[in-house]
Assembly symmetry: C2
Protein backbone atom coordinates (compact mmCIF):
# COMPACT_ATOMS: atom_id res chain seq x y z
CA UNK A 1 0.00 0.00 0.00
CA UNK A 2 1.27 3.43 -0.89
CA UNK A 3 1.50 5.81 2.04
CA UNK A 4 3.20 8.89 0.58
CA UNK A 5 2.43 10.42 -2.80
CA UNK A 6 5.27 12.38 -4.38
CA UNK A 7 4.14 14.88 -7.02
CA UNK A 8 6.91 16.43 -9.10
CA UNK A 9 7.64 18.00 -12.46
CA UNK A 10 10.59 16.64 -14.47
CA UNK A 11 11.75 20.23 -14.99
CA UNK A 12 11.80 21.05 -11.25
CA UNK A 13 15.21 21.44 -9.54
CA UNK A 14 13.87 20.87 -6.03
CA UNK A 15 11.86 17.92 -7.37
CA UNK A 16 15.13 16.40 -8.60
CA UNK A 17 16.83 17.03 -5.25
CA UNK A 18 13.91 15.34 -3.46
CA UNK A 19 13.92 12.40 -5.90
CA UNK A 20 17.58 11.78 -5.12
CA UNK A 21 16.75 11.50 -1.40
CA UNK A 22 13.66 9.34 -1.80
CA UNK A 23 15.15 5.86 -1.34
CA UNK A 24 16.96 6.83 1.85
CA UNK A 25 13.76 8.52 3.04
CA UNK A 26 11.68 5.40 2.45
CA UNK A 27 14.00 3.08 4.33
CA UNK A 28 14.60 5.52 7.18
CA UNK A 29 10.93 6.40 7.70
CA UNK A 30 9.52 3.00 6.78
CA UNK A 31 7.02 4.11 4.14
CA UNK A 32 6.36 3.41 0.48
CA UNK A 33 6.39 6.42 -1.86
CA UNK A 34 4.37 6.59 -5.08
CA UNK A 35 5.93 8.81 -7.75
CA UNK A 36 3.51 11.08 -9.63
CA UNK A 37 5.07 13.35 -12.27
CA UNK A 38 2.73 16.17 -13.32
CA UNK A 39 2.79 19.35 -15.40
CA UNK A 40 3.62 22.23 -13.06
CA UNK A 41 2.86 24.83 -15.73
CA UNK A 42 -0.85 24.03 -15.38
CA UNK A 43 -0.61 24.69 -11.62
CA UNK A 44 1.17 28.01 -12.20
CA UNK A 45 -1.80 29.10 -14.32
CA UNK A 46 -4.04 28.57 -11.29
CA UNK A 47 -1.85 30.37 -8.78
CA UNK A 48 -0.61 33.15 -11.06
CA UNK A 49 2.99 32.20 -10.19
CA UNK A 50 5.88 32.26 -12.61
CA UNK A 51 8.81 29.81 -12.54
CA UNK A 52 10.97 30.58 -9.49
CA UNK A 53 14.18 31.32 -11.36
CA UNK A 54 12.53 33.88 -13.63
CA UNK A 55 11.32 35.99 -10.69
CA UNK A 56 13.25 39.23 -10.08
CA UNK A 57 15.65 39.14 -7.08
CA UNK A 58 14.10 35.89 -5.81
CA UNK A 59 15.42 34.02 -8.86
CA UNK A 60 19.02 34.93 -8.02
CA UNK A 61 18.64 33.69 -4.46
CA UNK A 62 16.87 30.46 -5.35
CA UNK A 63 19.44 29.52 -7.99
CA UNK A 64 22.08 29.92 -5.28
CA UNK A 65 19.92 28.00 -2.79
CA UNK A 66 19.40 25.07 -5.20
CA UNK A 67 23.13 24.82 -5.81
CA UNK A 68 23.85 24.96 -2.08
CA UNK A 69 21.15 22.38 -1.24
CA UNK A 70 22.56 20.07 -3.93
CA UNK A 71 26.11 20.44 -2.59
CA UNK A 72 25.05 19.82 1.01
CA UNK A 73 23.19 16.64 0.02
CA UNK A 74 26.05 15.52 -2.32
CA UNK A 75 23.94 15.55 -5.48
CA UNK A 76 25.51 16.66 -8.79
CA UNK A 77 23.49 19.62 -10.07
CA UNK A 78 23.60 22.33 -12.71
CA UNK A 79 20.80 24.46 -14.10
CA UNK A 80 20.56 23.18 -17.71
CA UNK A 81 20.79 25.48 -20.73
CA UNK A 82 17.18 24.87 -21.82
CA UNK A 83 15.71 25.40 -18.35
CA UNK A 84 12.78 25.10 -17.81
CA UNK A 85 11.06 22.84 -20.34
CA UNK A 86 7.59 21.32 -20.71
CA UNK A 87 8.24 17.69 -19.75
CA UNK A 88 5.31 16.11 -21.59
CA UNK A 89 7.30 13.31 -23.24
CA UNK A 90 9.05 11.94 -20.14
CA UNK A 91 5.82 12.27 -18.12
CA UNK A 92 3.75 10.28 -20.63
CA UNK A 93 6.59 7.76 -20.98
CA UNK A 94 6.71 7.38 -17.21
CA UNK A 95 3.04 6.45 -16.91
CA UNK A 96 3.19 4.03 -19.82
CA UNK A 97 6.21 2.37 -18.23
CA UNK A 98 4.61 2.36 -14.78
CA UNK A 99 1.68 0.36 -16.19
CA UNK A 100 4.28 -2.30 -17.05
CA UNK A 101 6.66 -2.01 -14.09
CA UNK A 102 6.48 0.58 -11.30
CA UNK A 103 10.08 -0.20 -10.25
CA UNK A 104 11.39 0.34 -13.77
CA UNK A 105 9.38 3.56 -14.08
CA UNK A 106 11.06 4.92 -10.99
CA UNK A 107 14.53 4.06 -12.31
CA UNK A 108 13.64 5.71 -15.58
CA UNK A 109 12.42 8.83 -13.73
CA UNK A 110 15.70 9.10 -11.85
CA UNK A 111 17.61 8.74 -15.12
CA UNK A 112 15.54 11.49 -16.75
CA UNK A 113 16.23 13.80 -13.81
CA UNK A 114 19.96 12.99 -13.69
CA UNK A 115 20.32 13.27 -17.44
CA UNK A 116 18.84 16.76 -17.29
CA UNK A 117 20.23 18.20 -14.03
CA UNK A 118 23.52 16.31 -13.67
CA UNK A 119 24.56 15.63 -17.28
CA UNK A 120 22.97 18.62 -19.02
CA UNK A 121 21.08 16.55 -21.59
CA UNK A 122 18.26 18.39 -23.37
CA UNK A 123 15.25 16.37 -22.26
CA UNK A 124 12.97 18.51 -24.41
CA UNK A 125 14.46 16.40 -27.19
CA UNK A 126 12.52 13.09 -27.15
CA UNK A 127 15.59 11.22 -28.46
CA UNK A 128 17.36 11.87 -25.15
CA UNK A 129 14.34 10.52 -23.29
CA UNK A 130 14.34 7.35 -25.39
CA UNK A 131 18.10 7.01 -24.97
CA UNK A 132 17.60 7.02 -21.18
CA UNK A 133 14.99 4.28 -21.58
CA UNK A 134 17.27 2.17 -23.77
CA UNK A 135 19.72 1.76 -20.88
CA UNK A 136 17.16 -0.46 -19.19
CA UNK A 137 15.43 -3.44 -20.76
CA UNK A 138 12.66 -1.20 -22.08
CA UNK A 139 11.15 -1.58 -25.53
CA UNK A 140 11.94 1.85 -26.98
CA UNK A 141 9.74 1.53 -30.05
CA UNK A 142 6.79 0.81 -27.76
CA UNK A 143 7.70 3.87 -25.71
CA UNK A 144 7.84 5.98 -28.90
CA UNK A 145 4.31 4.87 -29.71
CA UNK A 146 3.08 5.35 -26.14
CA UNK A 147 4.07 9.02 -25.88
CA UNK A 148 1.91 9.74 -28.95
CA UNK A 149 -0.94 7.55 -27.75
CA UNK A 150 -4.06 9.40 -26.62
CA UNK A 151 -4.33 7.16 -23.56
CA UNK A 152 -1.07 8.46 -22.03
CA UNK A 153 -1.75 12.02 -23.12
CA UNK A 154 -5.08 11.83 -21.27
CA UNK A 155 -3.53 10.11 -18.28
CA UNK A 156 -0.93 12.88 -17.93
CA UNK A 157 -3.68 15.49 -18.05
CA UNK A 158 -5.78 13.58 -15.50
CA UNK A 159 -2.92 13.22 -13.01
CA UNK A 160 -2.12 16.93 -13.40
CA UNK A 161 -5.73 17.93 -12.79
CA UNK A 162 -5.89 15.62 -9.80
CA UNK A 163 -2.70 17.08 -8.33
CA UNK A 164 -4.00 20.62 -8.73
CA UNK A 165 -7.38 19.72 -7.25
CA UNK A 166 -5.57 18.32 -4.19
CA UNK A 167 -3.74 21.65 -3.86
CA UNK A 168 -0.33 20.76 -5.32
CA UNK A 169 0.78 24.17 -6.61
CA UNK A 170 4.52 23.47 -6.78
CA UNK A 171 7.12 20.75 -7.09
CA UNK A 172 7.90 18.67 -5.15
CA UNK A 173 4.61 18.28 -3.32
CA UNK A 174 3.92 15.39 -0.93
CA UNK A 175 0.81 13.97 0.66
CA UNK A 176 0.65 11.59 3.60
CA UNK A 177 -2.97 10.60 4.11
CA UNK A 178 -4.51 14.05 3.42
CA UNK A 179 -1.65 16.07 4.89
CA UNK A 180 0.15 18.28 2.32
CA UNK A 181 3.87 19.09 2.38
CA UNK A 182 5.43 21.45 -0.16
CA UNK A 183 9.12 21.44 -0.99
CA UNK A 184 12.29 19.41 -0.73
CA UNK A 185 12.81 21.29 2.53
CA UNK A 186 9.71 19.73 4.11
CA UNK A 187 10.99 16.14 3.91
CA UNK A 188 12.26 16.23 7.49
CA UNK A 189 8.92 17.54 8.70
CA UNK A 190 7.10 14.89 6.67
CA UNK A 191 9.24 12.24 8.38
CA UNK A 192 8.48 13.77 11.78
CA UNK A 193 4.77 13.90 10.95
CA UNK A 194 4.64 10.24 9.87
CA UNK A 195 6.44 9.18 13.01
CA UNK A 196 3.97 11.13 15.20
CA UNK A 197 0.99 9.69 13.30
CA UNK A 198 2.29 6.15 13.71
CA UNK A 199 2.81 6.71 17.44
CA UNK A 200 -0.79 7.92 17.74
CA UNK A 201 -2.11 4.99 15.75
CA UNK A 202 0.00 2.61 17.87
CA UNK A 203 -1.24 3.97 21.19
CA UNK A 204 -4.86 3.88 19.99
CA UNK A 205 -4.61 0.21 19.10
CA UNK A 206 -3.03 -0.73 22.48
Amino acid sequence: MSEVTFYFDFSSPYGYLAAERMEAFESRVGVTVTWRPFMIGAAFKQTGQSPLLSQPIRGTYFRHDMERCARLQNTPFHIPENFPYAALVPTRAFYWLESRSPMLARKFAKDIYRGYFADGLDMANPENVFAAASRHSINVSEMRAAVENQRWKDHTRTVTEEAISLGAFGSPFFFYEDEPFFGNDRLEQLAQWISLRKETAGSQSD
Copy 2:
Protein backbone atom coordinates in the same frame (compact mmCIF):
# COMPACT_ATOMS: atom_id res chain seq x y z
CA MET B 1 31.11 40.45 17.20
CA SER B 2 27.87 39.62 15.46
CA GLU B 3 28.11 36.63 13.18
CA VAL B 4 24.53 36.13 12.00
CA THR B 5 22.17 38.93 10.94
CA PHE B 6 18.47 38.13 11.31
CA TYR B 7 16.21 40.32 9.16
CA PHE B 8 12.50 40.05 9.90
CA ASP B 9 9.24 41.95 9.71
CA PHE B 10 7.09 42.21 12.85
CA SER B 11 4.08 41.15 10.77
CA SER B 12 5.75 37.96 9.47
CA PRO B 13 4.51 34.59 10.82
CA TYR B 14 7.66 32.70 9.85
CA GLY B 15 9.72 35.57 11.29
CA TYR B 16 7.95 35.04 14.60
CA LEU B 17 8.54 31.28 14.48
CA ALA B 18 12.24 31.89 13.81
CA ALA B 19 12.47 34.49 16.59
CA GLU B 20 11.12 31.94 19.05
CA ARG B 21 13.91 29.53 18.11
CA MET B 22 16.73 32.06 18.14
CA GLU B 23 18.07 31.64 21.66
CA ALA B 24 18.30 27.85 21.37
CA PHE B 25 19.92 28.34 17.96
CA GLU B 26 22.57 30.67 19.34
CA SER B 27 23.58 28.41 22.17
CA ARG B 28 23.52 25.25 20.06
CA VAL B 29 25.48 26.70 17.14
CA GLY B 30 27.70 29.01 19.20
CA VAL B 31 27.02 32.26 17.35
CA THR B 32 25.68 35.71 18.17
CA VAL B 33 22.63 36.86 16.24
CA THR B 34 21.86 40.52 15.52
CA TRP B 35 18.14 41.25 15.15
CA ARG B 36 17.20 43.61 12.31
CA PRO B 37 13.47 44.32 11.88
CA PHE B 38 12.67 45.83 8.46
CA MET B 39 9.64 46.71 6.37
CA ILE B 40 8.88 43.75 4.13
CA GLY B 41 6.32 45.70 2.09
CA ALA B 42 9.17 47.69 0.54
CA ALA B 43 10.82 44.43 -0.53
CA PHE B 44 7.58 43.14 -2.06
CA LYS B 45 7.49 46.24 -4.25
CA GLN B 46 10.88 45.23 -5.67
CA THR B 47 10.02 41.57 -6.29
CA GLY B 48 6.41 42.05 -7.36
CA GLN B 49 5.31 39.56 -4.69
CA SER B 50 2.17 39.82 -2.62
CA PRO B 51 1.85 38.66 1.01
CA LEU B 52 1.92 34.87 1.09
CA LEU B 53 -1.48 34.37 2.70
CA SER B 54 -3.25 36.53 0.14
CA GLN B 55 -2.01 34.40 -2.78
CA PRO B 56 -4.62 32.10 -4.36
CA ILE B 57 -4.26 28.38 -3.44
CA ARG B 58 -0.78 28.98 -1.98
CA GLY B 59 -2.28 31.09 0.81
CA THR B 60 -4.44 28.19 2.03
CA TYR B 61 -1.46 25.86 2.14
CA PHE B 62 0.89 28.29 3.84
CA ARG B 63 -1.62 29.14 6.56
CA HIS B 64 -1.83 25.42 7.28
CA ASP B 65 1.95 25.10 7.09
CA MET B 66 2.51 27.95 9.56
CA GLU B 67 0.11 26.40 12.04
CA ARG B 68 1.77 23.01 11.66
CA CYS B 69 5.28 24.44 12.00
CA ALA B 70 4.21 26.31 15.14
CA ARG B 71 2.68 23.16 16.66
CA LEU B 72 5.74 21.04 15.88
CA GLN B 73 8.04 23.59 17.51
CA ASN B 74 5.64 24.10 20.47
CA THR B 75 5.03 27.80 19.80
CA PRO B 76 1.57 29.28 20.44
CA PHE B 77 0.36 30.76 17.15
CA HIS B 78 -2.77 32.19 15.54
CA ILE B 79 -3.12 34.39 12.47
CA PRO B 80 -4.36 37.68 14.01
CA GLU B 81 -7.52 39.44 12.86
CA ASN B 82 -5.68 42.47 11.47
CA PHE B 83 -3.12 40.42 9.55
CA PRO B 84 -0.88 41.71 8.00
CA TYR B 85 -0.06 45.20 9.26
CA ALA B 86 2.63 47.79 8.52
CA ALA B 87 4.83 47.50 11.61
CA LEU B 88 6.38 50.97 11.52
CA VAL B 89 5.82 51.79 15.20
CA PRO B 90 7.37 48.65 16.74
CA THR B 91 10.25 48.80 14.24
CA ARG B 92 11.14 52.40 15.10
CA ALA B 93 10.68 51.65 18.80
CA PHE B 94 13.00 48.67 18.47
CA TYR B 95 15.87 50.72 17.03
CA TRP B 96 15.45 53.49 19.58
CA LEU B 97 15.52 50.90 22.36
CA GLU B 98 18.47 49.06 20.81
CA SER B 99 20.50 52.28 20.95
CA ARG B 100 19.97 52.12 24.75
CA SER B 101 20.12 48.36 25.32
CA PRO B 102 20.38 45.65 22.65
CA MET B 103 19.32 42.97 25.16
CA LEU B 104 16.20 44.90 26.15
CA ALA B 105 15.39 45.55 22.48
CA ARG B 106 15.43 41.84 21.80
CA LYS B 107 13.11 41.12 24.75
CA PHE B 108 10.80 43.86 23.51
CA ALA B 109 10.83 42.37 19.99
CA LYS B 110 9.85 38.94 21.33
CA ASP B 111 7.01 40.56 23.32
CA ILE B 112 5.75 42.39 20.24
CA TYR B 113 5.76 39.15 18.27
CA ARG B 114 4.08 37.13 21.04
CA GLY B 115 1.53 39.84 21.71
CA TYR B 116 0.54 39.76 18.05
CA PHE B 117 0.78 36.07 17.12
CA ALA B 118 0.11 34.36 20.46
CA ASP B 119 -2.21 36.81 22.26
CA GLY B 120 -3.97 38.40 19.29
CA LEU B 121 -3.17 41.98 20.29
CA ASP B 122 -3.56 44.55 17.52
CA MET B 123 0.00 45.82 17.18
CA ALA B 124 -1.10 48.33 14.55
CA ASN B 125 -2.41 50.19 17.60
CA PRO B 126 0.62 52.01 19.10
CA GLU B 127 -0.89 51.73 22.60
CA ASN B 128 -0.41 47.97 22.51
CA VAL B 129 3.21 48.49 21.49
CA PHE B 130 3.78 50.88 24.40
CA ALA B 131 2.00 48.50 26.78
CA ALA B 132 4.46 45.78 25.80
CA ALA B 133 7.33 48.17 26.53
CA SER B 134 5.92 49.12 29.91
CA ARG B 135 6.36 45.54 31.14
CA HIS B 136 10.11 46.14 31.11
CA SER B 137 11.90 49.05 32.77
CA ILE B 138 11.50 51.13 29.62
CA ASN B 139 10.61 54.82 29.70
CA VAL B 140 7.38 54.75 27.69
CA SER B 141 7.08 58.51 27.24
CA GLU B 142 10.55 58.51 25.69
CA MET B 143 9.46 55.68 23.40
CA ARG B 144 6.36 57.64 22.39
CA ALA B 145 8.58 60.53 21.38
CA ALA B 146 11.10 58.27 19.63
CA VAL B 147 8.61 56.67 17.23
CA GLU B 148 7.70 60.17 15.96
CA ASN B 149 11.32 61.32 15.85
CA GLN B 150 12.79 61.76 12.37
CA ARG B 151 15.97 60.00 13.44
CA TRP B 152 14.20 56.64 14.00
CA LYS B 153 11.96 57.08 10.96
CA ASP B 154 15.10 57.54 8.87
CA HIS B 155 16.88 54.67 10.59
CA THR B 156 13.99 52.30 9.81
CA ARG B 157 14.10 53.36 6.16
CA THR B 158 17.89 52.94 6.02
CA VAL B 159 17.84 49.44 7.50
CA THR B 160 15.06 48.44 5.08
CA GLU B 161 16.98 49.77 2.08
CA GLU B 162 20.11 48.01 3.28
CA ALA B 163 18.24 44.71 3.71
CA ILE B 164 16.80 44.96 0.21
CA SER B 165 20.16 45.89 -1.31
CA LEU B 166 21.64 42.76 0.32
CA GLY B 167 18.89 40.71 -1.35
CA ALA B 168 16.52 40.14 1.60
CA PHE B 169 13.20 39.78 -0.24
CA GLY B 170 11.32 37.97 2.52
CA SER B 171 11.08 37.37 6.25
CA PRO B 172 12.94 35.86 7.99
CA PHE B 173 16.16 36.34 6.06
CA PHE B 174 19.56 35.47 7.51
CA PHE B 175 23.13 36.29 6.55
CA TYR B 176 26.25 34.57 7.82
CA GLU B 177 29.25 36.42 6.42
CA ASP B 178 27.83 37.06 2.92
CA GLU B 179 25.85 33.84 2.69
CA PRO B 180 22.05 34.36 2.45
CA PHE B 181 19.42 32.03 3.94
CA PHE B 182 15.71 32.63 3.43
CA GLY B 183 13.06 31.24 5.73
CA ASN B 184 12.49 29.70 9.13
CA ASP B 185 13.00 26.39 7.34
CA ARG B 186 16.63 27.25 6.50
CA LEU B 187 17.77 27.49 10.14
CA GLU B 188 19.06 23.90 10.14
CA GLN B 189 20.98 24.51 6.94
CA LEU B 190 22.37 27.75 8.37
CA ALA B 191 23.59 25.79 11.40
CA GLN B 192 25.15 23.17 9.12
CA TRP B 193 26.79 25.90 7.02
CA ILE B 194 28.29 27.65 10.05
CA SER B 195 29.64 24.38 11.36
CA LEU B 196 31.27 23.59 7.97
CA ARG B 197 32.75 27.11 7.75
CA LYS B 198 34.20 26.85 11.24
CA GLU B 199 35.74 23.46 10.41
CA THR B 200 37.35 24.95 7.31
CA ALA B 201 38.65 27.94 9.24
CA GLY B 202 39.95 25.60 11.96
CA SER B 203 41.81 23.34 9.53
CA GLN B 204 43.34 26.32 7.73
CA SER B 205 44.74 27.74 10.95
CA ASP B 206 46.25 24.36 11.99
